[in-house]
């Protein structure tokens, strides 16, 4: 069942999707961002995602905004309002419903739809007649959408004013004029509009945050002071955001010559005491693999963001995937502990990043944030981020503590495997890091009888601590569910919705379904899988081909789950797709 303005489950009254289709360089992102922000300003929940080609101009992209009075975390399959800026946008016509509206300017692009209401609006003319240039027809289109929904257009004016500021006030004013004209035209004249009115909407402003921003904010909150990275879609947004905050928040953004330099620089900075990170996609991370092993050996904390995209090799640079799970878990020669966190939502990406720094510091291990293009480039409204929930745990010996010590050994063998950490530059003891097998003082050793095996055990003992850090899956759905879907990372929104959808269906058709969703994907604690014993049916849902999480479950628990729901064309799941695949299993099963 597609979403729509009408309530789908009793709690949801508003749930609509606006899609803007056009070429790269036509300004889709700006339009989509403005609309999303406009809805967030009046307290609507927004989830917006971008589907883009790897090019700067041309091609066909879209920006998709879903707004609801309930929390939404995934795109919907249906479109209520389509803004068609190019001919190729006609590929979205099939997503329209009877009451949907298509906005286009027939002087620019022709659109013929059998579904929904076609709205040929002279956007370019509106812009030019009101003193604007060609690109301002976009703002007219945005205003039209608001008009169709009878949405308070002042919110848009406010956003325009904020964006142009005092410096470019004149241009801002033209934009407002164009917007007003577009709004009036649609608001007053369009008859076929059967979309309900949002004129009465009043709610508290919500933050609108992208996945990349959430990670960057999490890093800032955690006191990260250094990121060295090499641009790579879809991870670049993190360094870009941090670069804008360099001065105010004491963080250095260094664009490295390559990803090998990225991780090694970050390790150097971390060794010297700055919380440090790097970010890339799978291909850039592939170049960091030796450095990851180094981090494991020198036991220097580091946070690495891997924003996945479809691969192998260059693959599809601007699309989404969950193909690098087993890769990041096993990356690096030799054996050393690491933790992998795959945030389920943009909000979680903020907290997971802050948490990653604590885990890295506490255990002196690398922590990987495994996100993807779908998380990175999407926007989500967030009610409130309670910064008090963020604690900074450095676990670095203070001057006081060091002063009291008789000796300090960088790789002291301890019960937990964690050696107390001091920073170089302290006036009491020397601090060492050695990539060779070393003794407790960090000096190269070839003692195979004692030192090597002890060091191996010490390093790997930290895994026990990490296993305790690892959080159990989120359980969602009815208590008495007999069936379950299992997911991890960014598929959460679609899965949650799929579960709702399935449970709203007749009990005759299939059993009740629950979701078990993992964000902490490595190390995996066998205990977190006891639910498998109690359930009749389980299917693992992943944005990849080979079913990597399913394999990890088998490895951890011995339970081989053959039911798999996989999508690997570069697009995120929609709830309905998952529901359909589940129903098919039940029919065959």
């Amino acid at each position: 069942m597609p979403t729509g303005l009408k309530a789908r489950s009793s709690s949801v009254k508003i749930d609509f999707t606006i899609k803007i289709g056009g070429e790269a360089g036509q300004g889709l992102a700006t339009m989509g961002f403005l609309l999303s922000k406009a809805f967030a300003r009046k307290g609507l929940n927004v989830f917006a995602n971008q589907v883009i080609q790897s090019r700067i101009r041309g091609g066909h992209n879209w920006f998709q905004i879903r707004a609801s009075d309930a929390r939404v975390l995934a795109p919907s399959a249906a479109t209520d309002i389509l803004i068609a800026l190019d001919r190729e946008s006609s590929c979205h016509l099939k997503e329209l419903k009877a009451n949907s509206v298509v906005i286009f300017d027939s002087t620019v692009v022709k659109m013929e739809s059998t579904l929904g209401c076609p709205l040929d609006i002279p956007l370019a003319k509106i812009a030019s007649e009101n003193g604007g240039n060609k690109i301002m027809s976009n703002i007219a289109a945005v205003a039209c959408v608001l008009g169709l929904l009878e949405y308070d257009v002042n919110v848009l004016f406010e956003l325009i004013r904020e964006s142009f500021g005092d410096k470019d006030k004149a241009i801002g004013d033209v934009n407002i004029k164009v917007a007003q004209a577009g709004y009036d035209l649609v608001f007053k004249k369009v008859k076929c509009n059967k979309l309900p009115s949002l004129s009465a909407l009043e709610g508290k402003r919500k933050m609108l945050v992208s996945g990349s921003e959430a990670v960057a904010l999490g890093a800032l909150a955690a006191g990260c002071q250094f990121i060295s990275a090499y641009p790579m879609s879809p991870s670049t947004g993190i360094m870009t955001y941090l670069a804008a905050k360099e001065d105010d928040y004491h963080v250095v953004v260094e664009q490295s010559e390559d990803e090998i330099a990225s991780i090694n620089m970050a390790l150097g900075a971390s060794f010297a005491g700055a919380r440090s990170m790097t970010a890339s996609s799978g291909g850039g991370f592939a170049l960091m693999v030796e450095g990851l092993s180094l981090a494991g050996m020198v036991e220097t904390p580091i946070v690495i963001v891997v924003a996945q995209r479809p691969a192998p090799a260059t693959g599809l640079p601007t699309r989404t995937a969950q193909e690098d799970l087993q890769f990041v878990i096993h990356a690096g020669h030799g054996e050393f502990p690491r933790m992998v966190l795959a945030p389920a939502t943009i909000e979680e990406a903020f907290f997971a990043t802050a948490r990653a720094f604590n885990i890295a510091d506490t255990y002196r291990v690398p922590v990987i944030i495994l996100s993807d293009q779908f998380i990175a480039d999407s926007y989500l409204t967030v009610d409130d981020i309670d910064l008090k929930e963020v604690k900074i745990e450095r676990n670095i010996l203070s001057d006081e503590e060091l002063k009291k010590l008789k000796e300090y050994k960088s790789y002291q063998i301890t019960k937990s495997g964690v050696s107390p950490r001091a920073l170089p530059g302290n006036p009491y003891f020397f601090v060492t890091a050695d990539s060779d097998e070393h003794d407790e003082t960090g000096r190269i050793t070839e003692d195979l009888d004692f030192m090597r095996p002890e060091m191996v055990k010490k390093r790997n003992r930290k895994n026990l601590g990490l296993l305790k850090e690892a959080r159990p899956p989120i359980r969602y759905g009815p208590k008495d569910a007999e069936d379950c879907l299992i997911g991890w990372g960014s598929t959460y929104g679609a899965l949650k919705e799929a579960v709702d959808l399935l449970n709203s269906e007749s009990r005759k058709r299939h059993e009740k379904v629950a979701l078990f969703h993992f964000s902490d994907v490595w190390p995996l604690n066998e205990k977190h899988f006891t639910f498998l014993k109690k359930l009749e049916f389980a299917a693992v849902v992943e944005n990849n081909f080979t079913g990597q999480f399913a394999r990890l479950i088998a490895e951890t628990t011995g339970k081989v789950i053959k039911n798999r729901i996989n999508k690997f064309n570069g697009l995120p799941f929609e709830a309905e797709e998952i529901a359909k695949a589940y129903r098919k299993f039940k029919k065959n099963g």
């Binding site: 402003r205 919500k206 933050m207 609108l208 921003e213 904010l217 800032l220 955690a222 006191g223 990260c224 002071q225 250094f226 060295s228 905050k245 001065d247 928040y249 004491h250 250095v252 490295s256 010559e257 090998i260 330099a261 990225s262 090694n264 620089m265 390790l267 150097g268 900075a269 971390s270 060794f271 010297a272 005491g273 700055a274 919380r275 440090s276 030796e290 450095g291 180094l294 020198v298 802050a354 967030v382 910064l387 008090k388 604690k391 900074i392 920073l423 170089p424 530059g425 302290n426 006036p427 009491y428 020397f430 601090v431 060492t432 890091a433 050695d434 990539s435 060779d436 000096r443 190269i444």
Partner: protein, 284 residues
Amino acid sequence: MADLESLGKYETAWCPGCGDFGILDAVRDALVKLDADMHKCVFVSGIGQAAKLPQYMNCNFFNGLHGRSLPVATGIKIANKELVVIVTSGDGDIYGEGGNHFMHAIRRNIDITVIVHNNQVYGLTKGQASPTSDLGFVTKVQTHGVISEPVHPLGLAVTLGAGFVARSFSGDKEHLSSMIQEGIKHKGFSLVDVLQPCVTFNKKNNFVWYKQRVYKLAADHDAHDKHKALEKALEWGDKIPTGVIYQDGRPTYEDACGLMKDKALIGQDVSSPSRIAPVLEEFL
């Protein structure tokens, strides 16, 4: 403060007669002469015979991966500019595996001092050609002799705009020590390329070979003239110049960056998550 005793004495894994001993001696000498606060010094190295040097002194060190000493050193210096960062590397380490970092570290002009034990061979892996091996140098892998043009590290460094470019010889402790001292004192990226005999695997460029060829740059050599410097930097053959070939005063990374003018990065307060509350407002 540094004195020979507190720097310690360690058993090394080097071959008797290796030029690395001369470099270690000169490094120790330089530290003593500079009266370095050893707790404020960090030695960074990669992997190779050369890269073992920090293991043989009482000091802070980061002995990282083969070829990757420069990014590590860069990160350390960015995080804490109060530290004196000294890299010890081999010709394979820094001009081979780590060549890209060499190029880009120079461009950044980060204030570190890089000592390259240039023995024109891969020592630790038993004698293959390195990027500085002479044409025709025969090894078990280059069985027909080297056919690739050797890199001219000093020429590269000058071309890339390194702030301080010097050459010395492991057989001349005094000169080498003074080059290292000057390198450390120079604000910005300093390269000290040290000709170093490998007695085991480089039978061609041995002590005598170097000894007969090295000469000290004339007192009137203008180290600030880039084109003169380039000429000297590329001189290699019967005569090999040593000394400060090029020196330049462009701003260091730490100064240009602007984020650590008053205080080292790690000295700046980032301890309260609530400091970012104003940023969150921007998302409303």
